[in-house]
Symmetry: C2
Subunit: 492 residues, 2 copies
Amino acid sequence: MAKEVTSRAENYSQWYNDLVVKADLAEQSAVRGCMVIKPYGYAIWEKMQSVLDGMFKKTGVQNAYFPLFIPKSFFSREAEHVAGFAKECAVVTHHRLMNDPDGKGVVVDPEAKLEEELIVRPTSETIIWSTYKNWIKSWRDLPILCNQWCNVVRWEMRTRLFLRTAEFLWQEGHTAHATSEEAEAKAYEMVHVYADFVRDCMALPVIVGHKSPNERFAGALDTLTIEAMMQDGKALQAGTSHFLGQNFAKSFDVQFTDKEGKLQYVWATSWGVSTRLMGALIMAHGDDNGLVLPPALAPIQIVLVPIYKTDEERSAVLAEMETLKKAFEALGHSAKVDDRDNLRPGFKFAEWELKGVPVRIAMGPRDLQNGTAEVHRRDTLEKASVPVEGIDRYVHELLDDIQKGIYVKAARFRDANIRKCDDWEEFKTEIQKGGFLLCHWDGTAETEQKIKDETKATIRCIPVDTVVCEEEGKCIYSGKPSHRRVVFAISY
Amino acid sequence: MAKEVTSRAENYSQWYNDLVVKADLAEQSAVRGCMVIKPYGYAIWEKMQSVLDGMFKKTGVQNAYFPLFIPKSFFSREAEHVAGFAKECAVVTHHRLMNDPDGKGVVVDPEAKLEEELIVRPTSETIIWSTYKNWIKSWRDLPILCNQWCNVVRWEMRTRLFLRTAEFLWQEGHTAHATSEEAEAKAYEMVHVYADFVRDCMALPVIVGHKSPNERFAGALDTLTIEAMMQDGKALQAGTSHFLGQNFAKSFDVQFTDKEGKLQYVWATSWGVSTRLMGALIMAHGDDNGLVLPPALAPIQIVLVPIYKTDEERSAVLAEMETLKKAFEALGHSAKVDDRDNLRPGFKFAEWELKGVPVRIAMGPRDLQNGTAEVHRRDTLEKASVPVEGIDRYVHELLDDIQKGIYVKAARFRDANIRKCDDWEEFKTEIQKGGFLLCHWDGTAETEQKIKDETKATIRCIPVDTVVCEEEGKCIYSGKPSHRRVVFAISY
């Protein structure tokens, strides 16, 4: 095999890095903390974008674009927001370079200092609400449902490709409503759009829930989250949706005249998912041979690898493969014939396994004679000899099978690693084994912090949509009464 | 009418600004020189992106993503490039804010100064070629055909919405090739992709040609351009494609082993179009009533406006309109029923004209009785009473007609305003009238500069694909011999 991948058992973290780099998804750039997303990785992100964008638009959301830069003073307007975001950020202070008077390259022109510094957006609530002020006068102007696909920058000290980078790509939705109820419903709707997307496209089950007050978005009254379990049992927050109340409307003085003619502050939500989803996809499904991509997100769903010795054999097999490729494409699938003539089939097999292509088809001269092909599915690594006659329908159904199979595997793993825990000593050992622990909590920030300090575990969410957690009990740490269990885990 | 638009005759420049703002395409933001692209404007840009992206991919190009920031030192590597781009730019010098010790908001933390300043990309040749160095070892790694859709920042002093803004959205393609011939062919191919897109989607004819050496992209050996004529006779550069030779490969030491085992520098191209295309679209086709959108780029192709007095009439007309909407959508068109009940039909008519919707359909109770509808086409402002039976096919063909009609109108205007000119005194008066002048030029930068100084006219391009310009003559300014005419105009 060309590129060795560290096994998960040996070093899960190194396995992840190997997959990202060796499967050509992304790499570190010359700029600290910023990544280059390579074509194969970007093609997966484009598929995610395309599906999500369609789902957003179905709910009435429209795309727009707001400035990359935010005046420094905007951050001071919302007190919690500045504490949460304005601290570690990229600050633009000048707008010109000049030739170095000493003759060495270019230097910043001290004359070109900005009157007010600009922050490269870490998130856009402030600039967007300063804009909404001009868009909203009456209840007839509401709701406003905007989304933007863009880059944001947060000056992270420790970065990891896709999971935590200084610059990342994301979408941020920002909605404005006439009532609290409508805004809360929108935040709830969007976190479920995320959950549906992650389940149906990424083949990954998530738990939908509220963040504890400690873990809320800076400036939010409520943060909803989707939490996914990775193969090492850690939690990964895959998307969030915030009910912002009237905080930003008040900070930027955005009021509307209601139907009764009274001035009221506008209600807000914001919600986002990012290229972090790529990290979730890789970590949830990959194996020691490489990526395992759900067909719904695979840039190449079917790869065809010819086996031959002579030029005649090569031509004959490739001709048949081009026919098959067209048949697959006619059913809406993406297929690629790997006709590189300088690589052995075994090398190609390993490479496409590393890249997670769901279905591989190999054919040689004997297959041509027999009217068969060898069909290999990436998720289970199973092979079957299949008649070429009708292979297009066979693969069509196989892809569907793989999509479902990947989900079922992830769901079984997740369910096998969620357990109730009611004893603090047990908690301390159990939590280190990975997985989610459903525990009672007294609802205080102090208890939450103490548990985090002692075990590194955090409350991932207070689940909605599940009755399993709705029961009376006593806080695992303080012993005080509790009305429902919450999800504890160690997280990315 | 709700929103008055300045007429073109009165003030063309104000007319443009009115259209951009009043048709809800874009507006100035709180950040100097940066615009907000509003949902209606962004929907047009998304259509442009979608079509262009498909055209790029058909030529083998893949999307990727490279960092927003470029280390300052990278700009010093390519001498011409630094002169062209690094001067007016956004410079990130710090990575943290802190609470103001005086208690007033936040200030830049002086402790958090970057070792090396980062430039917000004005264009990405430098960061991309520093990346390509790691991707390219052998001739088998070539060609590399990457494109990215992203934001860039150039610190413009005088900005205009879409036409010249500090931040704008664009795509930038960057390709790497084994031979000079292949790179030149790619640059040529991509400028023709742009020309085809602008002609077929934007309904706008362009002249394809080479830039004079003076007007080349900083670091290019050749710049190809598409030049469009606006209704005031000025030229607008709508897209460029550069043959970069080995300049960036040499600056970033990108070499490959060729088939003979020899080390060679890689050959490069880059090419881009931006949200400036929005400006071209508006200025080329709009009229005194507002935008005129070619159906291929209209977010709403058909708007249905009900006419009624009573609630019963309203219900009946809206029901019929919903049926029509579905019929239009079944033919692949986007349609909207304007069911707002607080606005008069006349107001709605004016609003959709302002927004450039290609087809408007009005129906009232009498139409219902007669089985007819009033169909209005935006480009010619003509109305016709059309039987509802078969109206879906009628409108389908009408949209095609409108797309062609808008192109033909623009092409006729353009052709009527291109003329040969062989006399310098005549040139000086003629050029002020607008339009393109085809003139002989002696090929020197000095002459070009003198003509610019005296008349503000520049050489827009040295056309390819046209025999009209291939003739012997004498330079209009210096009288020296010339082998072909070039295009002079005053430009945006």
